[in-house]
Amino acid sequence: MRAHKIAIAFVLGLYLFLHLIQLEVFPFYLFAMYSDIENPKTEFVDYRIMKDGEEIEYKDWSYRRYIYLRNTLQAYDNIISNDNKNPQADIISKYLDRLYLTGFGDAMEEKHKYINAEQEMKSWLLDFLGYASNYRVYKDQYQWVEDQPALINSVVIVE
């Protein structure tokens, strides 16, 4: 019974600690979605894929599959804009440096560097979306104009 209570106290203490330092350890997640104050954005980004010159339409896709593709493209975009390193991994050194584990943090972050990001992205698109002789991915920038998104710029990020 005593061991039971210690186990419960440990779990609750761990969860409280994770809340205070705002980290998560599976399965102890923080449920803080949509709680950050959301500032109005002026520009938005969307990704458009041309497969052999034809735009891929998502209307008939399952939404979850679309989110998986979108998240992957967004992460890829962030990587190529950040010297081929995934900026999501910056959190690793942020915490491990504080624990004087810089070397370990650097080794962990190595996994999040992508030297051949574009080539890997092309291979993955071929596999995920099916064979095509050419894939081109556009990063489209939008602004809200009268409660509707309006395209203001477009650049190719995979070719």
């Binding site: 705002q22 980290l23 998560e24 350890v25 599976f26 399965p27 997640y29 923080l30 449920f31 803080a32 979605m33 949509y34 709680s35 950050d36 104050i37 959301e38 500032n39 109005p40 954005k41 938005f44 969307d46 339409e57 998502y58 209307k59 399952s62 939404y63 979850r64 599959r65 679309y66 989110i67 998986y68 979108r70 998240n71 992957t72 967004q74 992460a75 890829y76 990587i79 995934n86 999501q88 991994a89 959190i91 690793i92 915490y95 080794a107 962990m108 996994k111 999040h112 992508y114 890997e120 992205m121 993955w124 596999d127 995920f128 939008y142 809200w144 409660d147 509707q148 998104p149």
Partner: protein
């Protein structure tokens, strides 16, 4: 329903939910095999995930297509077996559920090592088997009690974050969320009901603000569940409305949380389930 019936009922409910949602995952193209050898990790805010990715295991699993496919198939075996033998071999259930727990934890940690969906929606499917991993007297009751508290915690903590960070007091909070979340829906899914609802909120900021406050209040009301079960039927309605509303308004799919539903109405008292 008698006490043994309660145990069996939730076991069957869980197994059916798990199999249905695995089929859904398959149809959505999000099983390990269908992720198609992803290469960009998502470290999240989770040191366990950092370590798991560092170990090289997730990349190894998804790059071995055969292994990924085997895992996709094997992960349903404990639930299928439990459905087949729960009457004849009840003593096998704890072993099956321990295997289920271990397999599914590896499975979802691997899927979520990459740029997939939010891992939170799968927590129910990962944690509910804990209720069935032992036939020791009182285990099922204690485990379901803790799981129920966990559900109350999810919602009340979500409300507390909004209150403590002050977002619930910001007039344009929900309109800004809607604009940020729905702009791509307007481009790719203009006819979807969530896009229509999102557009309505963007055009009516006061109603959007009221709605956000109302949702926060409803989430906060789950704190009552820590102290009494008297209002569980109302909380169940709120829970179901929340899952439906999340889909209709945010297009966030939390259907997997339905595995928690029996926690709101099962009558569980101390009982020996060894003959379940």
């Amino acid at each position: 329903m008698n006490k043994l019936g309660t145990y069996r009922y939730y076991l069957l409910f869980f197994c059916v939910c798990f199999l249905v949602f695995h089929a859904v995952r398959w149809s959505n193209g999000l099983t390990l095999f269908l992720l198609r050898d992803p290469f960009i990790y998502n470290p999240r805010q989770d040191p366990l995930m950092w370590t798991y990715i560092f170990s090289g295991i997730p990349q190894w699993i998804v790059s071995q297509r055969g292994l990924a496919l085997i895992l996709d198939l094997v992960v349903v075996v404990p639930c299928v077996t439990a459905l087949l033998i729960y009457k004849k071999k009840p003593n096998w259930i704890p072993v099956l559920m321990r295997i289920q727990l271990a397999l599914f934890v590896i499975y979802i940690l691997t899927v979520f090592s990459f740029q997939s969906l939010s891992i939170r929606k799968y927590l129910g499917l990962a944690l509910v088997p804990l209720a069935f991993v032992s036939l020791k007297k009182g285990w099922f009751e204690d485990a379901t009690k803790w799981l129920r508290w966990y559900v109350m915690f999810i919602f009340s903590s979500s409300a507390m974050w909004k209150i403590l960070r002050g977002s619930v007091f910001e007039r344009d909070q929900f309109v800004n969320i809607m604009r940020n979340q729905h702009f791509e829906h307007l481009i790719h899914f203009p006819d979807h009901i969530s896009t229509q609802i999102g557009t309505y909120f963007i055009e009516h900021p006061d109603i959007a603000m009221g709605f956000y406050c109302l949702v926060t209040l409803i989430q906060l009301s789950f704190a009552m569940g820590f102290f009494t079960r008297r209002y569980d039927k109302y909380l169940l309605v709120a829970f179901l409305l929340f899952i439906l509303g999340d889909y209709l308004v945010m297009r966030v799919e939390y259907w997997e949380f339905l595995v928690f539903v029996p926690l709101f109405y099962l009558d569980i008292t101390k009982e020996d389930y060894s003959s379940a």
